[in-house]
């Protein structure tokens, strides 16, 4: 089922491409030795190079190059052995040099791709056009001094990777899946922390629409700086709808930069930024071409971790998980590791079920992260062991788990302390059954006359009579014998 917008004159589909700016994890900036940490007092993480003092020159940070290559390899992309830094010239108060050092026609990483895991368990491949390295700009502060803006250059010069997708996305939820997947890969690689709130991952969204079945692309608009996955999805939806209205009312969509306003749920034109832009890119004469040799690339490749796609395949093959469960578990490396610790020497499906449904559910209800979980992977594993060795039954296990979440105690201790061990003593169970049969002769007759379903009711009554501790299989067995003979 394709995403489509019902217009007044027919159905429209949407074409989306994303440009993601990912802040590179590094100690120092791309071209200077100032700290790349988030925050800090204004202009304290600024070298005179970042402030573009006359005569001071850029020198590239080796680690940032490595991070870009690592990311490229993680996106299954071509690494360009020869790339060039170019100056993108424009004037703005947060851009001290009067140009941004970026890469233009020769980026460090070329074509790659990324696999989307859709909620229905299917997957879809999206093309990556390129990844290039560039400098971040500084920060403008507008509300502190009347009639003036303040400029803090702490962020100026921090390394960014701009990752550009092909216009392969066809729905808001695909864009969301793309962002989530990209963030997951970046985090696995350790090349970007993926924190959208702090701005270490920022997204520009290119949107156009066309009639269902139409070939070719219509004019697109770029929505700048959208800062959450949810907003990206909303922005696409409202922008696509706006464009459909423009086309259907006989108008023409103009190629322009727009801003998404989440509080109003609309996009609006940023005409002020459009003014006569001509970036006059040319190779930065302060820098020489960036040359990478095969040995360097191989070295980086050798240190790549197992990435989400590979892990997902392995989880399906080794643990028998469904594609959906596997993709949920591999989004975050810590989740995947936790799952594997629980699943080690145990039933993988059972482990996945407990991690995803019980643990993740309880954590999100409690507003806790996995790292803050009161239940460790070891403790959860031992709870599952009590269940599979019939010490407790599944119902009791859920109760025990709840207590574990509250107290952080071990399952076994809880079971012992509260006497929750499963009752398998047939004498005790038979006594409870006899009691229920004696109290409900009419219902016994009904079962005997063929109303099998009522047996379930009897099981429930017996379980109630034993405080839930009876082994349900034994109860079922004995009931059948006693009622049906």
């Amino acid at each position: 089922m394709t995403y489509a917008i019902e217009g007044n004159t027919g159905r429209w589909t949407v074409v989306v491409g994303l440009e993601v700016h990912a802040q590179v994890v590094s100690e120092s900036k791309l071209f200077s030795g100032a700290s790349a940490c988030y925050g800090g007092e204004p202009n304290d993480q600024v070298s005179l190079v970042d402030a573009a003092f006359p005569g001071l020159l850029p020198v590239i940070n080796a680690h940032c190059v490595e991070q870009a290559v690592r990311t490229g390899l993680g996106l299954r992309a071509r690494i360009n052995r020869h790339s060039v830094f170019a100056r993108k010239n424009y004037f703005y108060a947060d851009l001290p040099q009067g140009y941004q050092i970026s890469q233009f026609d020769k980026p460090i990483v070329g074509e790659g791709h990324l696999v989307l895991d859709m909620p229905d368990g299917s997957s879809r491949t999206v093309g990556i056009e390129r990844l290039h390295l560039e400098q971040d700009a500084g920060k403008s502060i507008h509300d502190q001094v009347p009639g003036a803006s303040l400029i803090d250059l702490n962020r100026a010069g921090i390394a960014l990777m701009e990752i550009v997708s092909h216009p392969d996305l066809r729905a808001p939820d695909e864009a969301g899946a793309y962002l989530r997947k990209l963030r997951s890969i970046l985090r696995y690689l350790g090349t970007c922390d993926g924190n959208m709130e702090e701005g270490s991952l920022r997204c520009d969204v290119n949107v156009s629409v066309r009639r269902e079945g139409e070939e070719g692309l219509r004019t697109r608009c770029e929505i700048k700086n959208v800062n959450s996955v949810r907003f990206v999805m909303q922005a696409i939806e409202v922008e696509a709808r706006r464009q459909v209205e423009v086309w259907e009312s006989g108008g023409e969509v103009l190629q322009e930069t727009r801003l998404f306003d989440p509080s109003r749920g609309e996009t609006r034109s940023m005409r002020s930024k459009e003014h006569a832009h001509d970036y006059r890119y040319f190779p930065d004469p302060d820098l020489l071409p960036l040359e990478l040799d095969e040995e360097f690339i191989s070295k980086v490749r050798a240190t790549l971790p197992e990435l989400p796609d590979e892990k997902k395949e392995r989880f399906i093959a080794d643990y028998g998980l469904t594609p959906y469960d596997a993709s949920v578990l591999v989004v975050d490396q810590a989740n995947a590791d936790f799952f594997e610790e629980v699943a080690k020497d145990r039933d993988g499906k059972l482990a996945a079920n407990w991690v995803i449904n019980n643990l993740f559910g309880a954590l999100s209800k409690a507003g806790l992260s996995l790292a803050e979980s009161p239940v460790t992977s070891g403790a959860l594993g031992r709870l599952l062991d009590l269940m599979t060795s019939d010490v407790i039954n599944g119902r009791i296990a859920k109760d025990v788990f709840e207590i574990m979440m509250e107290t952080g105690a071990e399952a076994e201790a809880i079971v012992e302390e509260r006497g929750l061990r499963q009752v398998t003593d047939t004498g005790a169970i038979e006594a409870a059954i006899d009691e229920v049969i004696a109290a409900n002769p009419d219902k016994v007759e009904e079962v005997r006359s063929g109303k099998d379903k009522l047996l379930g009711w009897f099981v429930g009554q017996v379980m109630k009579g034993t405080g839930g501790k009876a082994n349900p299989a034994v109860v079922n067995d004995l009931l059948r014998k006693k009622i049906l003979g």
Binding site: L48, A51, A52, F53, P54, G55, L56, L57, P58, V59, I60, R87, N89, F91, Y92, A93, P96, Q97, G98, Y99, S149, I151, D278, R280, Y281, F282, P285, D286, L287, L288
Partner: protein, 493 residues
């Protein structure tokens, strides 16, 4: 009695070593000369107190036996080299009050070698010009005058202040920078030695940029040996300049043998253009003869793309400058002219802070890089640059150095300067091609014109072979026996 300001660097070094005088005495002599010669306009900023303090420290070091290559020698820095705590203006209103919190690497190398800094010399604004007339502070004046004519002559540019200071005996030597001839042309106009090293030989860090792919610092001195000595102190790989070459710095002075037997000298056919001043042409011929007499083999070579070097240079240097000078925006340092909006503040600041020549080049550079014109101007010029470089490399397949005139004419009067920018750019016709190819080149005084003005010859060498260049220059220097001292030197005004 020795006039301390008349000594060469090498003579002064040897005098200090022998104890004939102290660094303080040598520096005081120069400070007096500096004060007496203010009419030359050679300095934008004088730093006599700092110089004396450095001289005292140098004498103290010498007493403990620590002697650097340039120990106690008073020199001047072109006011394009940033100096910590001392204003650095690039001869622009834009940076009239700019005080850098750092030193250029070359300046620091010189200080580490023991040099004393007398002050900051005048130049064309942002090093754009060949006359010194674009300086916001007014031009430096050439210490030379035509015989029987009192007209003030241009010292050349852009390193005109450095050339005037060295020729006028108010610095033993000075640093210059050369983008298309800015060391060599003023050296020729003022009758001194100017060496533009191989691109990458000296760090560009802390030198205010004009055109990054061309800019190169070098020594301006009164002898070839001095140039060798000073280059040894200035040069060296700098990890803070990505275009600085990681090559060893030889002791250039030790490489001067004065023996050039078997050296192959190329004479480029295309430089013998129509309209070449007959005096210049004759001097060139004499230079060729001198080298031949010293045992060199002279070969005619061809540099077929010479004619297009100026236009190529003009586009590339202006394009780079338009971007390099974008940082002067009134926000972090330098002049600011207020405006209601950010753009208005930018435009007013840059309209008022840059002089007409700088503005012209920024505009041309902006145009050459702009959408729709990039291929036709900028990329085309980059392609021609490769052809020009290839010409040289091909020539250097059969010769070791090239000999050419430095400039087509001797110094012109400041008020005779052509107002048409195109005619003015022709000054650089012999120096620009080697800049485009990044080759080392040296200008040295080889004789006087009929009107009594110095004329320079240029030697061009292979990449990183300054030794060969300097050795040939030494031979030529001895043969020319140029002993002219300018009218102004040492005279009270």
């Amino acid at each position: 009695m020795t006039v301390l300001t008349d000594l060469t660097l090498v003579e002064a070094r040897d005098g200090l070593a022998k104890g004939d005088f102290t660094a303080v005495e040598l520096t005081e002599a120069h400070i007096r000369a500096m004060e007496a010669s203010r009419a030359l306009g050679a300095y934008i900023t004088e730093t006599p107190e700092q110089a004396l303090e450095q001289a005292r420290q140098s004498d103290a070091r010498r007493a403990t036996g620590t002697v650097g290559l340039m120990e106690g020698l008073p020199v001047a820095l072109k006011d394009l080299f940033c100096t910590k705590g001392v204003r650095t203006t690039a001869a622009s209103r834009m940076l009239e009050n700019f005080v850098p919190p750092y030193d250029s690497t070359v300046g620091r190398n010189l200080a580490r070698a023991g040099a004393v800094t007398l002050g900051k010399t005048n130049l064309d604004e942002f090093a754009m010009g060949s006359s010194n007339r674009t300086s916001f502070f007014g031009p430096a004046v050439n210490p030379w005058k035509r015989t029987g004519d009192d007209a003030a002559l241009a010292p050349g540019g852009s390193s005109g202040g450095s050339a005037a200071a060295v020729a006028g005996r108010i610095a033993l030597a000075a640093t210059g920078t050369d983008t298309g001839g800015s060391i060599r042309q003023p050296a020729a106009f003022c009758g001194i030695v100017g060496l533009k090293p191989t691109y990458g030989r000296c760090s560009r860090r802390g030198i205010i940029a004009f055109a990054s792919s061309l800019d190169q610092a070098g020594p301006m001195t009164r002898s070839v040996k001095d140039a060798a000595l000073m280059l040894s102190a200035m040069a060296g790989h700098d990890p803070l300049d990505s275009t600085s070459a990681p090559v060893e710095v030889p002791n250039f002075e030790n490489a001067l043998t004065g023996d050039i037997r078997g050296l192959r000298v190329g004479v480029p056919r295309e430089y013998r253009a129509d309209g070449l001043d007959p005096e210049v042409s004759a001097l060139w011929d004499r230079g060729v003869e001198m080298l031949r007499d010293a045992g060199a083999e002279v070969v005619e070579v061809s540099l077929p793309h010479t004619d297009h070097a100026l236009a190529t240079y003009y586009i590339l240097s202006s394009a780079e400058a338009s971007s390099n000078l974008a940082r002067y925006d009134g926000v972090r340092y330098g002049l600011r002219v207020e405006g209601k909006t950010l753009d208005e503040m930018y435009s007013r600041t840059r309209g008022a802070g840059f002089g007409p020549e700088v503005q012209r080049r920024i505009l041309i550079g902006t145009y050459a890089l702009s959408a729709g014109f990039y291929d036709a101007y900028y990329l085309k010029a980059q392609r021609v640059r490769r052809l020009i470089t290839r010409d040289f490399l091909e020539a250097f397949g059969s010769v070791d150095v090239l000999l050419t005139p430095t400039t087509p004419t001797p110094a012109f009067a400041l008020d005779e300067e052509p107002t048409d920018p195109l005619t003015l750019y022709l000054n650089d016709v012999f120096t620009v091609p080697t800049s485009l190819a990044g080759l080392p080149a040296l200008s040295m005084p080889a004789g006087l014109s009929g009107q009594g003005l110095p004329l320079g010859l240029q030697l061009v060498g292979r990449h990183f072979q300054e030794e060969t260049l300097l050795n040939a220059a030494l031979v030529l220097e001895r043969a020319c026996a140029f002993s002219g001292a300018p009218m102004f030197a040492g005279k009270e005004v």
